[in-house]
Chain length 107, copies 2
Amino acid sequence: MTQIPQDLAEARKSIDNLDAALIHLLAERFKITQHVGEIKARLNMPPADPEREAEQVRRFRALAEKSQLDPEFAEKVLTFIVTEVVRHHQQIPRGDKDGAEATPTDA
Amino acid sequence: MTQIPQDLAEARKSIDNLDAALIHLLAERFKITQHVGEIKARLNMPPADPEREAEQVRRFRALAEKSQLDPEFAEKVLTFIVTEVVRHHQQIPRGDKDGAEATPTDA
């Protein structure tokens, strides 16, 4: 095992703290999108909402710019999470029998 | 524009709040990994640290399980972020002239 300089060790501890917070936020976010998927399936609402998604991307990029985070990266992260949410929601049964292949989701 | 049910509108507000927190955490995390990249470049430390990365994956998965978040998803998110960190750190000049192609990073 290599010797870790003090400043590197401290930075890593901060990264670990932020990662723990990140995981807990993601867990909470998934609980809510799961709930949204259920609402949409129950009401037979269209699975995707392009208007909402476009608004989310705009908002994500604006927040990233304010925080000095690369907006391209922020958008990629959002897209990645949304894709996972869709994948997870594909299992939720819909209210209408004909809509079995639809994807209730809300990123 | 479609009429949004009240419970869906509220869930979306919560998602937006969590997303703002997520962006700010990611911005802070990037600042720290940037600093780590600089330390490693200065000390000519090896760019990647497989031991540290394996430990991060283990930790991420354990935290996800505790939070009832899919550990596979958690690992994918970490891998995605790490890849971006590496990409961002490829621009940091290293202390040794021969190491120009090396990638100082610390996920």
